[in-house]
Symmetry: C2
DNA sequence: GGTGAAATTTGCGCTTGCTCAAACAATCTG
DNA sequence: CAGATTGTTTGAGCAAGCGCAAATTTCACC
């Protein structure tokens, strides 16, 4: 069985405080794989057989309601764990994970989590720190949905996206993967129509440049102002 | 130092799989205290010196925005841990906790978490399971705020409250602690006016009976139908 | 290079639910 | 018990943003 090279993960904060031998051991239980764009890595409600680490690409975490509405919970970037139902005592995935671009992931069997966690407490602690951060982000999302207007929420979503995955160009900051207006709407709790209108208005004001599945932020500072105070201030 | 009696916690799911000696050891590090109604147990942003177990009463977990908006993240019931920032690698509390009624809590120093968790893995696992459940609930809340109308959200909130803390009377099911329209609004992302109007309309239809800081649910089944499908179905 | 699918833009009308305002009811305090 | 405080109800007007519809643009694939 071809094993995964330690160098792929040795720099990650998740594995800080772990020696080379530890990393090799951890990787010995994992399998790497490629996932092509728009393919699901796991499906909501399915048995949580594995948990994953994203090596390269971007992954969309989506919840679908019984009525067919979709809500994007978050995007996962390189170096992040996802699908860690096992660490939280769950047996099924609460959401689906879809590759936003071609991705490389490594997977561990969920059943190995308890042993891994007890053998490498630093790894477990880092994982739970990640969970804590996600819980807090999710709660912040609730606060935003409860208290802010749509324009402000779209601005916040865009700021978050460019902070996490912004690629600087000489024109401005670009989101590093293709994203549709519909998907931005599913992150902010609105409709693609309102997202389109808002982005168009911002383009007129010179804050962003829009094209198909792309948003280029030209004036991050002004967008930040909208995210923090709303546009009427 | 007066120690806490083991019988207070021995029946809790959180401490399942632990022997009497273990329980005594765990309790040896804890301090019990009374908190009177409306007093804060800890404040948002403060140093997370302790984590807590609620023995009796109900606790409100509240996030306040820089603009002064309040959002109620959840209510904690007897037997639940809260303020467990330490288990998630945080050094400050992300929200405030306020006693909704007179409460009895026990507190452990946050610094003891790592030792406790490694000495009693079953306790740690139960705690992380709780965290997982909360993360999922919070994500569900995001989905509701993103996709449902106000009436449906209020119905859901009420259903959740009576499920968690419902006290059956011969008239119907009553929420076990005083709760204002304002607080219901802060749980659902709306205003107290809309909550008041909605509850009044439901009272007219015979679904609930309203009085100051009280909601008595007379027809849980019909309320459930609104929570699931909206009222127009 | 033509065709079809997917994504985006934009207009219009309307509904939900918010803001503002005022009156009213219940509870607490001294 | 008087007065103050806190919580609740209800009305009226208004605006944010949704639903619907249609046109347009962009891209992928033959």
């Amino acid at each position: 069985m071809s094993s995964i090279d330690r160098s792929l993960i040795s720099g990650m904060p998740l594995f800080a405080d772990l020696g080379d031998a530890d990393l090799d051991q951890i990787l010995a239980e994992a399998r790497a794989s490629r996932v092509e764009k728009e393919r699901a890595i796991f499906e909501q409600e399915a048995e949580a057989e594995s948990f994953f680490l994203l090596l390269d690409g971007h992954v969309r975490v989506v919840r679908t309601t019984p009525e067919g509405n979709q809500v994007i919970a978050r995007y996962i970037g390189p170096g992040e764990l996802f699908g860690i139902a096992a660490a939280l005592g769950r047996t099924t995935y609460p959401a689906s994970a879809v590759a936003a671009v071609d991705c490389v992931v490594i997977a561990w069997p969920s059943a190995h989590w308890p042993a891994l966690a007890s053998r490498y407490p630093a790894f477990a602690a880092n994982t739970y720190k990640l969970v804590g951060a996600r819980l807090q982000e999710t709660q912040e999302h609730v606060v935003e949905l409860s208290t802010e207007q749509v324009e402000q929420r779209i601005a916040r979503t865009l700021m978050r996206l460019i902070q996490q995955t912004g690629r600087k160009t000489d024109e401005g900051v670009l989101i590093d993967f293709p994203i549709t207006r519909q998907q931005i709407a599913e992150m902010t709790g609105t409709t693609l129509h309102t997202v389109s209108r808002t982005l168009s208005a911002w383009e007129t004001r010179g804050l962003v440049r829009n094209s198909r599945q792309k948003v280029l932020v030209v004036e991050p500072h002004q967008l930040f102002a909208i995210a923090e105070h709303g546009s009427g201030h």
